[in-house]
């Protein structure tokens, strides 16, 4: 029987192979945490998350909001003295938690990503009002009212279109997507 892959290798394998160093090179210096503009909203700092992955604390990592709070600003990535693509590691953790279907309750990020990809596969382009259905129900009544007022203002000023656009070559586009990930039935 094959030994189970250690958690830190699973995550390293999920990072695109041609750039950056494996997270096992981490010095625990904390430059990433000191740089991160969203760190105060994270359950664990980026440095802690890397430490936790290396300590094999898989369940704790999967329960953390840290990587879903990453805004992909890549400041940690350009500053890491060990040349680890920390922001890409956050993406790897997002993918890992999506595949495991395990993430902190109440987070909007996982549903938003899934809805976004479905929307693109269906139309080829992004359209904000359609996405609102995925996150608005999670907002408080006050936030929903604010969002509604804002959207109305945007529509009135001509900034927000009312109808989504679809690309013309949608059928071939969807066949192309199916060669990457099988979604639905082959037409």
């Amino acid at each position: 029987m094959v030994d189970e892959l250690a958690f830190n290798y699973e995550i390293t394998n999920l990072m695109y192979a041609s750039h950056g160093q494996p997270i096992t090179n981490c010095l625990q210096c904390g430059t990433c945490s000191g740089t991160c503009p969203a760190v105060e909203f994270m359950d664990h700092t980026p440095r802690q998350i890397i430490g936790m992955i290396r300590a094999d604390l898989k369940e704790e990592v999967l329960a953390s909001n840290t990587y879903w709070t990453c805004a992909s600003c890549f400041h940690c990535t350009v500053r890491c003295p060990a040349d680890i693509d920390v922001a890409d590691m956050m993406y790897a953790l997002k993918r890992y938690s999506m595949w495991k279907g395990q993430f902190q309750a109440g987070l909007i990020g996982p549903d938003f990503s899934e809805a976004f990809v479905k929307m693109i596969v269906n139309s080829g382009r992004s359209f904000e009002p359609l996405l609102a259905a995925t996150y608005l129900p999670r907002y408080s009544a006050r936030d929903i009212v604010q969002e509604g007022l804002m959207a109305t203002g945007l529509v009135l000023s001509g900034k927000m279109p009312l109808l989504p656009k679809k690309i013309k070559g949608l059928k071939k586009f969807q066949q192309m997507v199916r060669r990457i990930i099988p979604i639905g039935e082959q037409s």
Binding site: A38, R95, K168, I181
Partner: protein, 292 residues
């Protein structure tokens, strides 16, 4: 006339419409032709990557393949589209296996990608292909006394594309000086606006926006200039929500760099999509048009 394969991206069809309008106006004035890539698709923003990295590269590769057919440089006005296209192109060049897999998918659309395009941001072609000297000759209405906070944001700078300065770049300031404006020196110019956290973690994003607005205000900026529709939306459209959330009274206009270029070229504000913002641009226009 300089020609480019132009990839507007989804935002420029909706919330970033004024970016598109002003980019077109300014390009025309500078003898630059932005030829829109035929039937382009969404680049994936930051939302594909959590689902499937390979899918994200393939969808961007479809746009690159279409640009390659034209033999022109691929130009994106949005920093997120630019970053996605730049790295997809780079990986295709350096990873034959990845390129093979992507081309297997593109084949059904009769497309092929080989990574031969140069991927550029719109501000880069104005500064480096047209040049500041040439831009200066078009400035008929110098933006005298207009204090502009150049906001670079993230993905135009990071991850590092080539050998550029990612910590303290100066090209945006240089462009603004060329337009006759006064660039504001403030430390948040490359600090994140929150990006898509505005949807997925509203509280965090509003706080990140507040920090940027406060820094610009502390430095007496009359306007913040952006290079990305996502940054523009967070700083401009959500400014009112920041005020409600934190009890602040920010009312600082946020403009695309192309809108400021257009104003300095003497183009009518309405043609640049100025006046449709959520934050009034009157105070800024009064200074920019020397009517104050």
């Amino acid at each position: 006339m300089k020609q480019y394969a132009y990839y507007p991206g989804c935002s420029l069809e909706s919330l970033g419409k004024s970016y598109h309008l002003s980019a077109m106006e300014v390009s025309k004035a500078l003898g630059v032709e932005l030829k829109e890539i035929e039937d382009w698709n969404c680049c994936g923003a930051t939302a594909y990557f959590p689902v499937d990295e390979f899918l994200a590269y393939t969808l961007t590769a479809r746009n690159l393949a279409k640009a390659e057919k034209t033999g022109l440089d691929f130009v994106a006005p949005c920093s997120a589209c630019y970053k996605n296209a730049f790295f997809t192109n780079k990986y295709i060049q350096h990873d034959a296996d990845l390129a093979d897999h992507i081309n297997y998918a593109l084949e059904v659309d009769d497309l092929h990608v080989s990574g031969t395009s140069r991927v550029r941001h719109l501000i880069d072609i104005f500064i480096n292909d047209v040049g500041l000297e040439e831009i200066k000759t078009k400035v008929t209405n110098p933006l005298k006394d207009l204090r502009v906070a150049p906001y670079y944001g993230c993905q135009i700078l990071r991850p590092r594309k080539e050998h550029e300065d990612v910590e303290n770049p100066q090209y945006f300031e240089n462009l603004l000086s060329t337009l006759g404006a006064e660039p504001v020196n403030y430390s948040s110019k490359a600090r994140c606006c929150g990006g898509s956290l505005i949807i997925t973690n509203r509280k965090a994003a509003l706080d990140m926006v507040r920090i940027l607005l406060q820094d610009a205000v502390n430095h007496d900026a009359d306007v913040i200039a952006t290079t990305c529709p996502m940054c523009n939306v967070n700083l401009e459209v959500y400014q009112a929500q920041v005020n409600r959330e934190f009890g602040t009274q920010y009312a600082i206009p946020v403009m695309y760099f192309t809108q400021l270029m257009g104003l300095s070229f003497g183009i009518v504000p309405g043609h640049l999509g100025i006046g449709k913002q959520q934050v009034s641009s009157e105070s800024m226009l009064a200074i920019a048009q020397n009517t104050k």
